[in-house]
Amino acid sequence: MIENIRHLARKWLEAKEVDAIFGLKEQDGYIAPHLFTDASELDNLTISTEYRLCYTCRPLKEDILSLMQGKEPDTRIGIVARGCEERALIELAKRNQLDLDKVKIMGIACTLEEAKECKCEKPYPSNPIIGERVEGVSEDEDVNTLLNKSLPERLEFWRHELSKCIKCYGCRNVCPMCFCKDCKMEQEVFCKTGWLPPEIPMFLFIRWYHISERCIGCGQCEKACPVDIPLLTLFKLLRRDVKDLFDYEAGMDAEQEAPLLTTLDEMPIKEEVPSGV
């Protein structure tokens, strides 16, 4: 598989279909995200599920892809992208965070093991050039466990989980859909600053609500959490709700407008879907 990817990447660079390729490089005994500008470097191009969505990671207010497009708007970048990565790019472009015209996607489908590890529902991009599509994970144990709890049990569950939070902002930093330069989570008025654990449930509620309709189900938030808070579980439930309420799935259709950015006339709520009580 890796040979096919390298071959295709080389073709794209040499035919000047793109100016650079964003992928993973093997260097000095470790793997790291890299921008390949020369075909000769491509011998070290590799893939690994461990490093996904590196280009939308945002510790200091702006992710690398936006920075690159900001500095050199005419550079065309080829991205070796999995299903979740493609959905992230589409959803970000919808919100004017990226110029999708300058991005060419080399879609890779994930294997069954990789899909299971991420609990992914759609482990493939729209047009996988490399790899075979596999069935995603439809039943999530954690989601079912939460739904089977009563309201007081759920409150106790989240009280326990959220009191572990150490306010690293990791979930926000890795989330491809979190791009606000002035983040609400940092504001004193919502959550007292410098205090651990941060206000329960407000701190994480802010993200759960804001990302609800844009969540692409990549699970990076949960993977970045040092104290293993089951963030993805709630997002999966919200993705389901957004689908039921608005017939909308983040990242699937570049033309479809997002529900919370539209009026009821443009995208109505489907009547009386029961809430998850």
Partner: protein, 139 residues
Amino acid sequence: MAEFEPKILAFCCNWCSYAGADLAGVSRFQYPPNIRIIRVMCSGRVEPEFVVKALSSGADGVLVLGCHIGDCHYMYGNHRTKKRMAILERILGYLGIDPRRMRLEWVSAAEGARFAEVVTEFTEQIKSLGPNPLKEVRA
């Protein structure tokens, strides 16, 4: 043990529901005193975080009152509110907070009686739900 008197916070939009509340007062329609009103220019101003903050800060119930669909002074503000509250309701449920502690209603400037009715009914509902368990969660 004294009867539980809930604290209810209501966000009322300036053009419709706040005027409706005013009318209820002027017309002497009775409603329970548990409610505290915060006036916003449009129900679309109400961020879901406000509701959660209210519930975390001691409110037992939160009402969000706006104009009827099609009557919003800012055209589509209440469209946003409706969609947001739909999602908020679900998150509250998943977190273990009874979504019935939050309610979205449309009350026009002429509906003084309706305002009193909505508040009365909501207060009864919250009384039956009991004190907000989120109060215990706050360290």
